[in-house]
């Protein structure tokens, strides 16, 4: 149905050759990542957040996004990178993620935001298989922009299984392979 499939349709569209999509890129150390700009709600500087007791390490806490309580995840920890101390340049990107039970907002902490890039979707390549060495479940694909290689995040996978209690956040059951072919 339309609402449900919006994202999938968008993905499908973006994958048709020659179409260009805009991506917000940011960096984690030397690595560059990108998210679909349509999923970005807001970009804001890092401010202290309210800790959530008994939550996973990567959950930094919650912040107040104009009256909405939004959880903030440390992207480095979320995707298994080492922690880095936050600086003035540390940025929180508030994303809209799409789940089976509706949209949700999460904030991810990244080292720095770089740019908004328009990229040809045809250039997206699948992530090489690192086997169990490397967790690539959050990476949707890779694309090169100039000299840089940008990893496109699959934002819908960033949310945990709906907090501690429920697990109603059902992940879309598909893999990159199918999407590309």
């Amino acid at each position: 149905m339309p609402v449900q499939n919006e994202h999938r349709q968008a993905t499908a569209e973006s994958l048709t050759a020659g179409s260009r999509n805009e991506y917000l890129t940011f960096s984690l150390g030397d690595e560059d990542y990108g998210v679909d700009i349509l999923r970005v709600r807001e970009i804001r500087g890092w401010e202290a957040v309210t800790r959530i007791p008994n939550s996973p390490l990567y959950v930094k806490g919650v912040l107040n996004l104009r009256g909405t309580i939004v959880p903030v995840f440390d992207l480095r920890l979320r995707i298994g990178m080492p922690m880095r101390a936050y600086t003035k340049g540390t940025v929180v990107v508030v994303l809209r993620i799409v789940g089976s039970d509706g949209d949700r907002n999460i904030g991810i902490v990244v080292d720095d935001v770089s740019d908004v890039l328009s990229m040809d979707m045809a250039g997206i390549q699948r992530v090489p298989d690192f086997g169990s060495r490397l967790n690539t479940e959050f990476i949707f694909g890779m694309v090169s922009a100039g000299k840089k290689m940008i990893m496109i995040l699959d934002v819908d996978r960033l949310a945990p299984d709906h907090g501690n209690g429920g697990s109603s956040c059902v992940r879309p059951g598909r893999n990159v392979n199918e999407e590309i072919s």
Partner: protein, 787 residues
């Protein structure tokens, strides 16, 4: 059943001839026991009397034995048996115990036991029996054959008599009947014969039961008559003879007990007499009629000594015949004689002066157990010698009191206490006499001026104190005298030295005066030089002050430069902060622009124009950030340079400050020099004045030195006079050598003295060879002895 513990395996043997006797009441409580009993049992009388007899019961004894005993004696019959008894410490002893009831007025009031030593065979048999009884293998009651035999043996004599008469009568009757019936002779004879035989048999039996025991009883009674009570009868029989034997046994026991009791009492009396016999005090005992009935060994000797004297008036007096006579008959004193002839009511002490002796008598009445007067006992003491010595001592003491210390108690013929007393008094008088003689001797010597004598001898107590004080007085006197003499010597020597020193002084004073004049002239030269010096210093000071002013000005300039640099620095910092803000704004702008891009992207085509603007803004923000970063770099660079300049200026400022400081120091020093020169010149003037006045004083000194010289000479003469006077006293050798030695060291001492004065009065050290007498005050009182 009382079981006494502990027990040991040690057996005590009864002494041969000892007999243990005890009495108990009906309940077996001991009311009496003799010494032998006490000794072998190991208990004391108090532990035995009033206690149950089973105190000495040995656990090896079967209870049946005592049951038998009690049954027997309670039925009024005596009991005899071998008994093992236990001592207090657990040892044991075997006795043959014989117990009989005691009757008073036909009623049993208690039991009496007499125990004699058993033979070893008896003991062995009894031990074996008791062991078996205790192991329940045997009984004390006879059984089986033994019972029968015993029963047969106890057939009463009456039965035997009846049998005898019956058989005889029956036989004779049968015979008679047969005769009457006209039976043939042969059967009649046979019956008669049979009757005869049986009669004979019973007769024999009867004789056996009667005659032998009777003979036995007779034998035992004979033994008792002979005083052997302890050959116990055998009471195994139950017939009439047995009863007789039992009675004999009771008699044995009773008699044995009484005999033992009597024997003990006799022993006690004998002991007392023996003791009295050997007492050293003379004791006599008279009966109620005042006849002498006893005199002990000592009394006998006492009267033997007096016998000769007594016989002068009473020729019939014989010591050996005194027993039975009345001693008062020989007393020359009537009063005493009367006293001695009447009944004595209470103890009294009296003195008898007779027969050349003084005799003291202690007399006491003697009463029997009923309290009736039975005579008197007298102790005789010869006190003649004591009285004599007492008189002698009285006279000697009286003499001594009046100052005659020559008298002495004659010790010959005195013994014991009096000898000791006499020699003691003699020693006392001797001591006092010696002491006074000694004191007199010393005092007379002192009067002659000899202070060397002292009290010698070993005096104690008050004498010792007197000796000590006199000796002390002498010693102190001598010490004072010797010190006086030494002082005199010192004064003499010193006055000699003073006059010599004065001579020396006056010559030196002259030398000094000339030296002073030379000094005064050189001082004037010095004054001129110093003044010149001060003027130069003043000029240098002015120059230094001007140099300092210049340097200070330079310093101010530098510090202003430093301030300016600081201001630049803080401005740079502010700029850096502002740039930080700009940077932050650029960052925020970037974020905003990114957000705008996001919104634009969301708006799709409509937002495209906006996206361009957002990109522009982002570019601007980026350029701002870059510019800010560049400015930041520049500012940092300039800040660094300013900092370096500041450092340089600060360093030069510091150097200038140092220069100012140094110049100031130079000025200060020069000022000080100028001031010092001024002061110097003043000082030199003062010195000049001082030299002039010193010159005057030196002149005066010379005059005074001469006067002193004269005075020293006169003092020397006086000292020699005193020395002569002091020669009167004889002093101990120890103090005398001071004089010759003083003479011998006279020369060096003088030198030393002068040297001491030149070196401005450092006191002569103690170890110095010069006599310490030089400074008598420092001398310790007893130090003279060391010289």
């Amino acid at each position: 059943m009382k079981i006494n513990q502990p027990v040991t395996e040690i057996e005590r043997q009864m002494r041969a001839g000892s007999i243990l006797v005890s009495k108990t009441d009906l309940k077996g409580i001991i009311t009496y026991c003799n010494k032998d009993f006490k000794e072998i049992s190991g208990f004391s009388y108090s532990e035995l009397i009033g206690k149950s007899h089973n105190l000495v019961r040995h656990p090896d004894m079967p209870p049946e034995a005592f049951q038998d005993l009690w049954q027997t004696v309670q039925s009024g019959r005596p009991w005899s048996g071998i008994v093992k008894n236990r001592c207090k410490n657990g040892d044991f002893y075997w006795v043959r115990a014989n117990i009989t009831p005691l009757s008073e007025g036909g009623r049993v009031t208690g039991y009496m036991s007499v125990r004699t030593p058993p033979t070893r065979e008896e003991v062995a048999d009894a031990e074996a029996l008791y062991r078996r009884v205790n192991a329940n293998k045997a009984s004390l009651q006879p059984n089986g054959v033994a019972k029968w035999i015993s029963a047969l043996r106890s057939l009463p004599i009456k039965t035997l008599l009846a049998c005898l008469v019956f058989t005889s009568v029956a036989g004779i009757a049968t015979t008679a009947a047969m005769v009457v019936m006209g039976a043939s002779d042969k059967p009649t004879l046979a019956v008669l014969g049979l009757t005869g035989v049986s009669t004979l048999l019973f007769g024999l039996l009867l004789a056996r039961s009667l005659i032998r025991p009777l003979a036995y009883a007779q034998d035992k009674l004979m033994q008792i008559a002979e005083g052997n009570f302890f050959d116990w009868v055998d009471i195994g029989r139950a017939d009439e003879i047995g009863n007789l034997l039992k009675t004999i046994m009771s008699t044995q026991i009773k008699l044995g007990f009484d005999v033992m009791d009597a024997r003990e009492k006799a022993d006690e009396a004998k002991r007392i007499q023996t003791a009295l016999d050997n007492v050293s005090t003379s004791v006599t005992v008279s009966d109620v009629n005042n006849r002498l009935i006893y005199m002990n060994q000592s009394a006998h000797e006492f009267f033997d000594q007096l016998a000769a004297t007594i016989r002068e008036k009473e020729p019939q007096f014989e010591t050996d015949r005194l027993i039975g006579t009345n001693l008062a008959d020989f007393f020359p004193d009537d009063r005493l004689r009367d006293m001695y002839k009447t009944k004595l009511l209470e103890p009294r002490v009296s003195q008898l002066d007779a027969w050349g002796h003084s005799i003291k008598l202690n007399t006491s009445p003697v009463h029997d157990t009923a309290g009736d007067y039975q005579g008197r006992v007298t102790q005789w003491f010869d006190i003649t010698g004591e009285l004599k010595v007492q008189r002698e001592i009285d006279s000697i003491v009286e003499n001594a009191r009046s100052g005659d210390l020559t008298g002495r108690i004659v010790l010959e013929g005195k013994e014991g206490f009096f000898a000791t007393l006499g020699s003691g008094i003699n020693a006392l008088i001797e001591v006092v006499e010696n002491a006074f003689n000694d004191i007199a001797r010393i005092m007379s010597e002192m009067a002659k001026g000899d202070l060397t004598k002292s009290m010698r001898g070993d005096y104690k107590g008050a004498f010792g104190k007197v000796q000590q004080d006199i000796n002390g007085t002498m010693a102190n006197l001598e010490k004072i005298m010797s010190q006086l003499r030494e002082s005199g010597e010192v004064i003499t020597t010193a006055s000699d030295e003073i006059s010599a020193g004065n001579n020396n002084l006056s010559s030196r004073t002259e030398q000094q005066a000339s030296a002073l004049q030379e000094t005064a002239s050189s001082m004037e030269q010095l004054t001129g030089t110093v003044k010149n010096n001060a003027e130069n210093a003043q000029q240098a000071n002015l120059l230094a002050a001007s140099a300092r002013q210049t340097a200070e000005k330079g310093g101010e300039v530098v510090s202003q430069a430093v301030q300016a640099m600081d201001a630049i620095n803080s401005s740079s910092n502010q700029i850096a902060e502002i740039i930080g803000v700009i940077d932050e704004i650029a960052f925020q702008t970037n974020l905003l622009a990114l957000n705008a891009s996001v919104e634009a992207a969301r708006a799709g085509d409509q937002g495209r124009g906006f996206a361009v603007v957002a990109t522009e803004v982002r570019n601007l923000a980026g350029r701002s950030a870059t510019a800010a970063k560049e400015i930041k770099g520049l500012i940092q660079d300039s800040a660094g340079k300013v900092k370096a300049g500041t450092e340089l200026v600060r360093a030069s400022g510091e150097t200038l400050a140092e220069i100012v400081l140094s110049v100031k120091k130079v000025g200060d020093i020069i000022s000080e020099i100028a001031a010092a020169s001024q002061e110097q010149s003043v000082g030199i003037d003062l010195v000049n004045q001082a030299v002039t006045s010193m010159d005057e004083v030196t002149q005066q000194n010379a005059a005074l030195a001469e006067q002193t010289s004269a005075a020293a000479l006169s003092m020397n003469e006086k000292a020699r006079e005193m020395d002569g006077l002091m020669g009167f006293f004889t002093l101990s050798k120890a103090s005398q050598p001071a004089l010759p030695r003083a003479e011998a060291t006279r020369k060096p001492a003088t030198t030393a003295l002068v040297q001491a004065r030149v070196s401005s009065g450092t006191a002569a050290p103690r170890h110095h060879p010069s006599p310490v007498s030089f400074n008598p005050v420092e001398d310790e009182g007893d130090q003279w002895e060391e010289f």
